[in-house]
Symmetry: C2
Subunit: 586 residues, 2 copies
Amino acid sequence: MTSAEQRVEEWLASFESALRAGDAEAAAELFAPESYWRDLVAFTWNITTVEGRDGVAGMLRETLEQAAPSGFALTGEPAEAGGVVEAWIRFETAAGRGTGHLRLKPEGAWTLLTTLRELKGFEESRPQGVEHTLNKGRLTWKEEKQRREEQDPYVVVIGGGQGGIALGARLRQLGVPALVVDKHARPGDQWRGRYKSLCLHDPVWYDHLPYLPFPANWPVFAPKDKIGDWLEMYTRVMEVPYWSSSTVRSATFDEAAQRWSVTVDRDDDTVELRPTQLVFATGMSGKANYPSFPGQDIFQGEQQHSSQHPGPEAYQGKRVVVVGSNNSAFDICGALWEHDADVTMVQRSSTHIVKSASLMDVGLGDLYSERAVAAGVTTDKADMIFASLPYRIMHEFQIPLYEEMASRDADFYARLEKAGFRHDWGADGSGLFMKYLRRGSGYYIDVGAAELVADGRVKLAHGQVDHLTEDAVVLDDGTALKADLVVYATGYGSMNGWVADIVDQATADKVGKVWGLGSDTPKDPGPWEGEQRNMWKPTQQENLWFHGGNLHQSRHYSLYLALQLKARYEGLPTPVYRLAESHHQG
Amino acid sequence: MTSAEQRVEEWLASFESALRAGDAEAAAELFAPESYWRDLVAFTWNITTVEGRDGVAGMLRETLEQAAPSGFALTGEPAEAGGVVEAWIRFETAAGRGTGHLRLKPEGAWTLLTTLRELKGFEESRPQGVEHTLNKGRLTWKEEKQRREEQDPYVVVIGGGQGGIALGARLRQLGVPALVVDKHARPGDQWRGRYKSLCLHDPVWYDHLPYLPFPANWPVFAPKDKIGDWLEMYTRVMEVPYWSSSTVRSATFDEAAQRWSVTVDRDDDTVELRPTQLVFATGMSGKANYPSFPGQDIFQGEQQHSSQHPGPEAYQGKRVVVVGSNNSAFDICGALWEHDADVTMVQRSSTHIVKSASLMDVGLGDLYSERAVAAGVTTDKADMIFASLPYRIMHEFQIPLYEEMASRDADFYARLEKAGFRHDWGADGSGLFMKYLRRGSGYYIDVGAAELVADGRVKLAHGQVDHLTEDAVVLDDGTALKADLVVYATGYGSMNGWVADIVDQATADKVGKVWGLGSDTPKDPGPWEGEQRNMWKPTQQENLWFHGGNLHQSRHYSLYLALQLKARYEGLPTPVYRLAESHHQG
């Protein structure tokens, strides 16, 4: 046995013995003074991180009896570096089986991640597909599927993009009657309908959906229509109950019955559903921020939010002003330039740009890449490593990566600066992923369009839009930009805006802002939350949930949300530890 | 180094040195007197097995200069059992890279398998999906796909079931312009249209398609509609160029131009294609044997070939006579019984039955099962192990397996016999898989219906059909079986029947019988062929190929067929060693 292995074994034995004794304080003493325990549904029926020995003790005092944890054991060989031992573990609770990750310092546990992986008695397994005894009246697979799709759903998921589909697949596999409702004609249209040149900015290893990974011949950066086809295929072969061309008009929670009334316009019908649980998977990029400027009513050209932009074909030779300087703005400017439009980008505030190749290599390469796969870092392992880093200190791990990118691409940033582009590295230099987690905006992963700005092929203007005239966008410094088309690449609002539209404003306010960490950086006001607000966990509104994010999050966190829903469907006790308060309305 | 490893290393070194010296005889001396070298396209541009030292020397004399093999090396640890060392190897030829398998006895190589895996300069790899430089006029993925689907195909594949689709996926991946043409409305309809209760009789581990394995939640025995959905989605996400609702009317080979003229009815149009290569993937079970009996014209009820049977729903309370006692007959009888039809099976000759569970466990368990996967036997490894057994001696490996099944299920066979069912184990006791390879018929994998015959719930009659009357099927012993419906579960003809229909009878005769080994057992006349007739390899008709078989064969052999087509598309030299003669016309 290596010394690292021995240290972990000893720590786990002491930890389990304290837990068995019901001694929260003794267990907490096994943590370092600066320490973090992140629990994904295993102990807390919540997604929460507690800090320090007091945090650990406080959590255990309230959860230990219910969780009744046991069976802590190492899985695989621990690794040691710089005095920190890293180990993979497994354990059980009264309700289920879990896996986790431990970082051990000489003074105790520094970080602990515990995740629920399956509920006892409800393990997933491969079905037989056929009974080998003939019986009169048995249903075929197709008949069984039809029956299932007609039954009353326990869960309604609003929105059938990657998030809703991934969750639907997990619920189907867990045997929870669910229905995904989406307004588009076909699964995947959420992607097909976006601008023509769009490709995923995240690489294939980051993007796998649950159960069915992309094949070895899948492109590193999948084009939008190909992703659309995959999602449609995935929905079908995973047997996700899915209503297309269906729009949720309203939803009301019946306190007495503890059920929702959900009104859906389906083709030409109006249907009333009565699910117990309601999940908003309407997308972080679901609700467009369409800005208001004086003169929008008199402008004679076209105006579009970036989400409505049909692609560049119709705008050859036209003058286009794109308001905004993040991902969508760059992608749209690039495609318009390729189609010989006269394009001006209006930068309203500084933007963080990283070159895709550098981000892939330096930022994601250790976890999600051909190299990572070759080193044994499977998608599941990468997800768990990512999840094991507490948000409180995640930026510390990120800053050096972006310093490396800054140095590697120094010429590129110098060219951008020379062209007048205002560039930043995030409030604390922690770069793209922290911006994504904190505010979901403020960056561009450069897949080529930054060079167009750097060398002036796409023109650059600065400032806020003051007003529009009949044929121009006028900035606050008086600059008038003549335009046939104005594209507002002005981003998206908090997901609780959908709750306001579909349920009511009071419920939206009660639930509060969705996304962000409370990092007290731009667009992510404090206080510190420790986890992403309202995502994948109970909210201030009973039986109302949010699901979404990029493909990585849709894949990984759909598991924990699905297990929470399954436990409730089966009537298991699910006492929530430390339900997050709401500090901001949107 | 283990002694097994050393023996293999020494053998490989001697072998390579003889090959490098161009010394066919010296290389042949390294084989045991009883020995088999099976080559899949690597040395011979053919699928062929040579036997004994003379066979090896003969093959090498003709292929060595062109193949220029080198780089023979062990991959992984050899295993030794009963004096035979088994080893996995790799090697190169002038044209490509290959892998193989060696069984070494003290007196020399007993079996050698060599397979071509990729062509040098045309290796498959993951595409980027996006260029990170913007260019005016670049095509999106969707535009590129449309362009590809409109180009003139180099290969036309007739038939878009699992075979055509798997081959189409490989050709697409290799960059060979190809088009799969199928008469059904959607990919997968080949399965959807079959009888309602049909599930695959092979387990999931045996059934994976290339590139995209079934997920972990896929049923062991997939229902037909689920397979239909998978094939449809696979076609889409693998970007297989595929024309649905399109029927090939005729095809003519233009000797001078070395191209085919293929006439296709597509929707309401007639389209003329000019491919260089034509592949029949019309299915072993493609061309129905519809028998002729006196009185068929006066019979007042319904008559169907098993492939036309719509399922049992319409036949509740009806009298049904099913002529035949193989897979389709049993499945149809079972489903009819479940729907309260009065069913009689007419057994015309003895049938081999194995219980599905026993076949899975004893017959396939070491190669294709949860157990095999846990033991490290991946699908690709299992395919290679299977391919490594020369057909000449394969029955010797099979016989003990069926002896074990006979003993395990002795009660079951006793019950069947008592009910008068005539059962056999194949001409030499080698069971199901040899029957499949030799004649593609004569068996039932029992998924429950055999018990209905054993206990009389499905009635059993024996003999040949003599004639039909207005309301009955009359057997040669005078037995009259009253019937409202007669189902002819009378199997399918040789695939060159399709060549007769689409090209002409002369070409069908020239090419000859498809399938079978020449084993001189019922329905597989000699002489010995050594490989399956005409499958996946050059035929007596230039530029005409056959592809098909079960999912395992569609997966594995599509690789070798695709590489042969790719090599020809790229203009590489492909001298065929020992093109098989045709001994039977159909």
